[in-house]
Structures are given as structure tokens and as C-alpha cells.
């Protein structure tokens, strides 16, 4: 059950031309600026926008190919979609929203409803079955939208900025939950986002779209280390460290300690750190206000526009952005020993609620390397 698509959509003043591939069980993150064609890409796959040219093959079946006049209607594709604005039917309860897909497929009312209730329970929404969408919070509505898409047994799951409409606190919780649900989803999934944290936490591979074209694709860590453009560097440049928090310190999986200053967090945690906040020195630093100082070795240097992205092999492993001038003055090159400093206040922390469901957790010492 995999997705293999070549999409070409031409409209006035805009052309989408992208190859998309995703394997069963894989989450492909689609990133790009506004107007890059991310939503058009999803809508083309769902059949809501016809292809000008190209071919879409899902689970071995050709579902669209204009060259031979083949085009499956959206309702015949079995492709689930979570819309950015959720689009929960306002006149139906949460239960009826989730049951809608099965009832459309001819499942008897009672069966569809009990199936919907079990989906709502899976997403922690027990007790809210009878609520109308306008009686749900943003996080709850997002979960109902996900339950609705998943309950119709889709062969492919499309999500358009599923977390964009949520406030920061809700977002962290729903993100963790989404990760758990995606781990259980057997088919390929596409996640459109412009948030690098969402992309790095939820996606296995990334596809960077700009002006209707794929400008880079591959595993997140590889793109983060070798971004093809300054834009991609900024977009994917995040250090993401998983570990266990206690008393303001995170014991990073794969080695290393990180002082975060956030003593409220206990248990599985995510630490997020911009490469531009990582300070490099060639000698052991004098006592400074930075709470995190450790030695490492330069593994790679990549010049992108006005910055150099440096991969540092250390515990934990990090990406750092420095200027070309700094590289020249410090005479930095791969293999050099350096000291890394990070201020505790530059580290954002989040609870990591479903660590056990993601098979990649154990190996993700650094930015998903």
C-alpha cells in the first residue's frame, strides 16, 4: 500500500509540478512557504483538483491518469483528509461526524455509531460524542477531524496544517497524540505544514515545495545537515533532542545532559534548539552564563548562502549555524575539536507524551540522525 504520484496542475499564474512517493506506514512531511502549492498538492491527490498531466497510483491502483482519461472521483478514492479548518459538519454531532464515512459506505446506523464512539474513545474524546462542533475546543475539534478521516478506513491519509489553528499549549499535546495515531496508521500519510517542529517530530521524510516545485526531498536529518538553500536551512534548521526530564535537566536519549531551567517538566520530554543559538569555541570556555558546555568534534560544514551549517558530533549531537567569517577566522574544518555552549534560556521544552509508539525514538540521539 504505497503512493506513487506525478502531479501536474496548471492554473492561471501557477503551476504545480511535483513527484510524490510515500511507502506504507511512512509519514511524508510537505513543507514550503505560503503559496508554494502545498494545499494544491493535497487537493490534487484527494481528487478535489483535476490533474493537467501526471499519474497517481495508490496501493497498486491507478486512480488518476489524464493521458488515458482515467480519473476516480474523490468519493471513490478512499483517501482520508484532515483539513486545516477541520470542516466538521456543523449540524452533526461529533459522533455523527465520525460515523459519516461509514454510513456513506452503507454501514447500518447503529454499527457506524458504535464504531465512531470507539474512534472517539481512542482519541480521548469519550463523553463528547453528542457535542456539536461549535461546542468543542480547537484541540477537540482537531481530534474529531482526525477520527473522522481515519474511521473511514482510508488507503492514504492527507493532513493540511492539522495543528496550525491550535494555541501553543494545545498544540504540543495534540502533536504528541497525532504522532501516536500516525504510528498506528498502516497506509502512507502526507502532512502539510510550515512548522519545522511539526515536520521534524511527525514526519519520516520531508518534501520541500517552493513555487510549485520540489526543491529538496529526503530524510529530515539529511536535509537539516545539507539544506539546499538558505530558505530550507531556516525551515528545517532545528535541533530536536528527545530525553527524560527531571528537576530542570533533560537526560538526552543517546547520551548527554541538557540544563533547560524548566523545572516543571518531568518525564519524557522534547528539547528544541535553534542552530543559531549554538555557540562554538575552539578552546575550553571560561566560566560563562551558558549552562550547557561540552566538547565535540566538527563532523561536517555546509555553506548555504550567508551562513555555514555545522554538524557537531558530540553528546548530544547538534547543528550549529555560524557565519562564513567566523569559520575563516577560527579556521574551522571537519575533524576539529570544538567546545559547544548553549544557554538554558535558548532551549524550548515540550512534554513528549507518546514516546513508546514511535519506533524511531530510541535511535534519535540528535536531530533524527
Amino acid at each position: 500500500m504505497s503512493l506513487q504520484a506525478r502531479l501536474r496542475v496548471e492554473r492561471a499564474g501557477f503551476t504545480l509540478d511535483a513527484d510524490v512517493h510515500a511507502d506504507a506506514g511512512e509519514v511524508l512531511g510537505v513543507l514550503g512557504p505560503n503559496g508554494a502549492g502545498k494545499s494544491t498538492l493535497l487537493r490534487a491527490l484527494a481528487g478535489l483538483v483535476p490533474l493537467t498531466a501526471g499519474r497517481v497510483e495508490l496501493a497498486g491502483e491507478v486512480i488518476e491518469d489524464p493521458a488515458v482519461g482515467r480519473r476516480l472521483a474523490p468519493q471513490d478514492r478512499r483517501i482520508g483528509m484532515v483539513f486545516q479548518d477541520y470542516r466538521l459538519f456543523p449540524h452533526l454531532s461529533a459522533r455523527e461526524n465520525v460515523a459519516f464515512g461509514l454510513r456513506s459506505a452503507g454501514t447500518p446506523k447503529a454499527d457506524a455509531r458504535s464504531h465512531a464512539d470507539s474512534w472517539l474513545a481512542r482519541l480521548g474524546l469519550t463523553g463528547l460524542e453528542g457535542r456539536r462542533p461549535n461546542e468543542l475546543s480547537g484541540g477537540q475539534a482537531q481530534r474529531v477531524a482526525l477520527a473522522r478521516a481515519l474511521s473511514a478506513f482510508p488507503r492514504l491519509l492527507l493532513m493540511d496544517e492539522p495543528l496550525a489553528a491550535l494555541d501553543v499549549a494545545t498544540r504540543a499535546a495534540v502533536r504528541s497524540e497525532l504522532r501516536g495515531q500516525l504510528a498506528l496508521f498502516p497506509g502512507p500519510a502526507l502532512l502539510v505544514t510550515h512548522d519545522s517542529l511539526d515536520a521534524l517530530t511527525l514526519a519520516d521524510r520531508l518534501l520541500i515545495l517552493d513555487d510549485g516545485r520540489v526543491i529538496q526531498a529526503g530524510p529530515a536529518a539529511a536535509i537539516a545537515q545539507r539544506p539546499g538553500s538558505p530558505y530550507v536551512a531556516k525551515l528545517v534548521g532545528l535541533n530536536l533532542l528527545r530525553g527524560t526530564a527531571a528537576a530542570g535537566v533533560i537526560q538526552v536519549d543517546g547520551g548527554g545532559l541538557l540544563v533547560t531551567g524548566d523545572s516543571s517538566l518531568t518525564g519524557p520530554a522534547l528539547a528544541v534548539l535553534r542552530p543559531s543559538s549554538v555557540l562554538l569555541q575552539t578552546t575550553a570556555p571560561h566560566p560563562s552564563s551558558a549552562r550547557n558546555v561540552w566538547p565535540g568534534r566538527l563532523a561536517a560544514l555546509e555553506t548555504i548562502g550567508d551562513r555555514v551549517r555545522v554538524t557537531i558530533a558530540s553528546a548530544p549531537q547538534l547543528l550549529a549555524d555560524v557565519t562564513p567569517q567566523a569559520v575563516a577566522e577560527m579556521r574551522l574544518s571537519a575533524g576539529d575539536d570544538v567546545w559547544v555552549s548553549v544557554k538554558a534560556t535558548d532551549i524550548d521544552t515540550y512534554p513528549d507524551i507518546y514516546p513508546g509508539l514511535d519506533p524511531e525514538v530510541d535511535e534519535s540521539g540528535g536531530a533524527r540522525t
Partner: protein, 288 residues
């Protein structure tokens, strides 16, 4: 008063701030006075006929007047024909609104304009047109006659005349709702595997339900008051085609008290309709 305070302050301020060759602003009456007077005239103009009705109404003899069989006959005929005209309009007008709102076809704007024509057409013209469409000498007359149907001067003719005049109110209300309700929910339904028909029945119709209801009430109100097309096409036969407005008109010459009583009944029905539509119309206009 604010205008007085403004007048005493403004000259000094302009003297010091504007160049000498610029004319001094003259004192003007306040906007409320300029627009308030005609507004009061408009209000009085609209209310006086209602007041006239209520003042001159034969309140004491009202029960007796309304108990008259011919009055009850006209009322029953009016309510029945307006209801049937509304039902007919719903059955064919809602699909027409859907076609106009959701289908793209050549000449759509022209079709839309033609559908709305009865809104501005003098009803008498509509009645004449119907005579030459469905009448014995009309376009469809021979065909209808062949199967034994004669519409002019029949109750069915009343229903058709009322529907002709009233249906556009329903069509534009529902079309507006369909065009305004973007198709986001219908797209969502399609991704969940719903057929076009399921989507229309379970998503589209319920979402525009309030507008369909408002359009139907509006259509009913217009049908109830229909006069010109009805009298032209269906005539004025008591018991068969004489609806309330026709009865009022006839009674005015022979029995003015009865005309007033009938008019009061129509006024009461109109107020009921306004109450039914209050959520939609009686709120002050708000930015969307």
C-alpha cells in the same frame, strides 16, 4: 448641544490653522436635522395606512363579519392556494436554485435574469402571459385541453398564478444561500466517500435549511397577497378563484366594513409572517 459648542470653537481654530484665502466653513445644520425630517415623513407615510385600517376597523362587528361564509370561503381558498403555490415552488424552485448556484453552463446569467423577471414584472402582465401559455388559445392550451385540463378560471389556475409571481422570492433566497455556503463541507463529505446524492441530502440541504424556510415563508407571503396575475388568469369567481385580496377589492365597493375586516385578517397574517422571519430581518444590518 454639541452643534452649538462646535460652532463657538471652530472659527477660532480655523483662523489660526488655515491660510487666509481659504473660505471659512459655514455653520451647517446638524445631519440629524437634515436627514431626520424626511425620515420622519417616510415613517409616517408607511404607518398611516396601517393606522387608518386600525382606526376605521369595525371592531365591534368583526366577529360577525368574519363569520360570514363568503369571508371564510375566501380565507380558506387563499390559505390553501398560497400553501400549494409554496409547495410547488419548493419542489421545482429549490432544484432550480441549485442549478443556478452550482452548475456552470452557457447562458446562466440570462437564465438567472429571466427567473428573476417576475419580481419586477407587473403581475397583470404575468397573468396575460399565463393566459397565452396555458389558456385555451395559449401555447399549451390545445395539449392541455386534449387531456381534459383547463387551467384558467380554476383554483389550479390561482395556484399557478401565485407560484409564477412568488417562486422567484424562494429561488433567489435559496440560490443566495447555496452560492454563499462555500463548498468546503461538500468537499469534506466527498473525501469521506459520500456520493453526490448523499452529500446533497445529508450536508447541503441541512446547511441551507434556514434559508429554504425563510424563502418559503417569503414565497407564501407573496402568494397570499397576489392580486394582478390571479384576477387576470384565474378570474374572480367566489369560492373557486376569489382569494382574500380579490374579496377585499370587491367588498370595498359593496360592503366597505367587510373589506376592512378582510384587510385586518390579511394584516394579521402579514404580522405573523414578519414574526416568523424576525431572526432574519428584524435584526439591524451587521457587517458579514
Amino acid at each position: 448641544m454639541t452643534s452649538g459648542a462646535g460652532a463657538s470653537l471652530t472659527p477660532q481654530a480655523t483662523d489660526s490653522l488655515t491660510s487666509p484665502d481659504r473660505p471659512r466653513p459655514r455653520r451647517r445644520p446638524s445631519l440629524l436635522v437634515v436627514l431626520g425630517a424626511p425620515a420622519a415623513i417616510a415613517l409616517a407615510f408607511l404607518l398611516l395606512p396601517l393606522i387608518g385600517l386600525l382606526v376605521r376597523a369595525p371592531w365591534r362587528g368583526l366577529p360577525q363579519l368574519l363569520a360570514d361564509p363568503s369571508v371564510r370561503q375566501a380565507l380558506r381558498l387563499s390559505l390553501m392556494s398560497a400553501t400549494l403555490a409554496t409547495v410547488f415552488s419548493l419542489m421545482v424552485g429549490v432544484p432550480l436554485a441549485w442549478v443556478l448556484a452550482r452548475r456552470r453552463f452557457p447562458g446562466r446569467r440570462l437564465v438567472r435574469a429571466l427567473v428573476l423577471l417576475p419580481l419586477v414584472l407587473p403581475p397583470v402582465v404575468g397573468g396575460v402571459g399565463m393566459l397565452y401559455a396555458f389558456g385555451r388559445r395559449g401555447v399549451l392550451g390545445p395539449a392541455l385541453g386534449a387531456v381534459g385540463i383547463s387551467l384558467p378560471f380554476s383554483t389550479a389556475g390561482v395556484v399557478l398564478a401565485e407560484a409564477f409571481v412568488a417562486m422567484p422570492f424562494l429561488v433567489i433566497t435559496v440560490e443566495g444561500a447555496l452560492a454563499g455556503s462555500d463548498q468546503r463541507y461538500e468537499e469534506a463529505a466527498a473525501t469521506l466517500g459520500a456520493s453526490d446524492w448523499t452529500t446533497f441530502r445529508r450536508i447541503t440541504l441541512p446547511l441551507i435549511g434556514p434559508s429554504v424556510a425563510a424563502g418559503a415563508v417569503l414565497c407564501f407571503a407573496r402568494a397570499l397577497g397576489e392580486f394582478g396575475a390571479t384576477i387576470t388568469f384565474a378570474g374572480n369567481l367566489p369560492g373557486t378563484t376569489q382569494t382574500m385580496p380579490l374579496a377585499v377589492y370587491v367588498a370595498l365597493e359593496t360592503n366597505p366594513e367587510a373589506a376592512l375586516a378582510l384587510a385586518l385578517v390579511l394584516l394579521a397574517v402579514s404580522i405573523l409572517i414578519l414574526v416568523a422571519l424576525r431572526e432574519r430581518w428584524l435584526r439591524p444590518a451587521q457587517p458579514a
